[in-house]
Symmetry: C2
Subunit: 322 residues, 2 copies
Amino acid sequence: MTLYELGETAIVNRIVKRLNIEFDDCAILNLTDTEYLVTTTDMFHRVTDFPVEMSTWQIGWMCAAATLSDIAAMGARPQGMLVSMGLPDVKPAFVDSMIEGMDACVRRCDTAIIGGDTDSHQELTICGTALGRVPKHKILRRSGANIGDLVCITGCPGMAGAGMAALGKGLTEQEIQDSILVKKFFEPIPRIKEGLRLAESGAVTAMMDNSDGLALSLHQLADINGCGFRICADLIPVLPEPEGSLDHDPDPDMALALYSGGDFELLFTVRASRLADVRRACELTVIGEATSNGVFLAEGKGEECTTKKIERRGYRSLVHLR
Amino acid sequence: MTLYELGETAIVNRIVKRLNIEFDDCAILNLTDTEYLVTTTDMFHRVTDFPVEMSTWQIGWMCAAATLSDIAAMGARPQGMLVSMGLPDVKPAFVDSMIEGMDACVRRCDTAIIGGDTDSHQELTICGTALGRVPKHKILRRSGANIGDLVCITGCPGMAGAGMAALGKGLTEQEIQDSILVKKFFEPIPRIKEGLRLAESGAVTAMMDNSDGLALSLHQLADINGCGFRICADLIPVLPEPEGSLDHDPDPDMALALYSGGDFELLFTVRASRLADVRRACELTVIGEATSNGVFLAEGKGEECTTKKIERRGYRSLVHLR
């Protein structure tokens, strides 16, 4: 059996187990008696990770955003980013533009690119590493959710997936530029401020980002916390109308919300009694609650309510060891 | 003009200047009032960076060693390593073996792999990121050398290059296994202990690793410190006799010592009055002294002494932004 037949989840579990690594959005190190250092690394390749429609500037932005999203997911404050690049023999303007996109995203998160490495490579390869720090009593891990906690999310899950779907159906260059869905997909904004404010609130019990999709993230949270989730379909934010000539159909929208990747929103659980405090921390949507077991989607209301299992699948091209 | 025509040094300088990055073996961050966090990242690709004779275990070891060498060069204590891998569709045993080699090297340096990321990629790609901490008053930067300081080096520069040359001339599998030169090339030991003890001594004024070769490292130190160096050919450690059927000729030996890469030794300057203290810290060889300008090699003694310029060239397949 080869690695790809085995599947990336199995490979990662194999490595994590062998090295006895704690699995979270970031690796966590003792910094001082009162603070943790959190670090995360993400690797990207031109063909696998970046749609052809993406500009060089956006490739840079996306790499920084995806890496910093893991810092946000711990409730940590970014302290810098390192960037390794495997560069093909392109024009220097290509690198300038990519670095500019990266730098713009990193600055937006009040931090800086502090170092890196270059190597020659036929296919563009980028590896970002981000550092953050967080007071020990405020860190938000994937573990900590309790039955009865409310499940919340920032933003609108499926936006990036809807952007991807729109591209798949063919958009003109102008439509691509104008599309808020494509922009969300190509230029995600790491939820650093939201993460910091949620950590500050003291009312969040567990958190992660939903970059692998909502369904898979819920399953991961359920596994780690030994709980289940009941998500209400009616509570999931409705995707904006797609641009261009696309049909707007609620069924594929729900599939996008659950199973598509590329969003970098925060998924977290909150003590029900503290919801008002968390609402003051950032904009969020309550989409369900933590239960004793099973990850279910409830559709309809009252006697007509039906539940179905949320499948354990999502976007697994980028697989995290943490 | 393309990136490769421009040359990697120029590209790196371009990025470093644009982002206003301080150039050293590691990026340096304030950790507390008394300590720095140092971080470094290195990217490797199968074809560019690993000879075909290298085992999978050795690939893992080499990646960890090259990354940790930058931590050693700051006089810092390693705090962990992150590893991103772009993996082709190979047998799981391949990854197991690579991870084992990496883990062995990291453990040898009293630290651990704490996280990472996986991605699919046709050609094996590895990106290592290492973290270290060091008291502020002990950190060893590339800057700090003064005219009259002694130039010192750990180990024997050119060993890895001699290993590479031996492979190029064709060795049997058994000869490869038995060769101390090839072992030095394939399984370099990061000078973490030496770095820590040199930092502790308080007598070292500037330090870096010589992974790009002795000549290029000397030129980099000269540039940063606004000084020159006079290296005595007779003081450079003699390479061990090569194995197999290779000729032993002192001229190519000197070329290897100066211009070949792949060694991960420490190159540093020491206050002349404090040499005895530094000798107690670790095994070293004094190879010359810091002068007002020019990087020269002095050959012969007394009236028959001749000097020639040491060229600004070396091993630049891995180019550091820091």
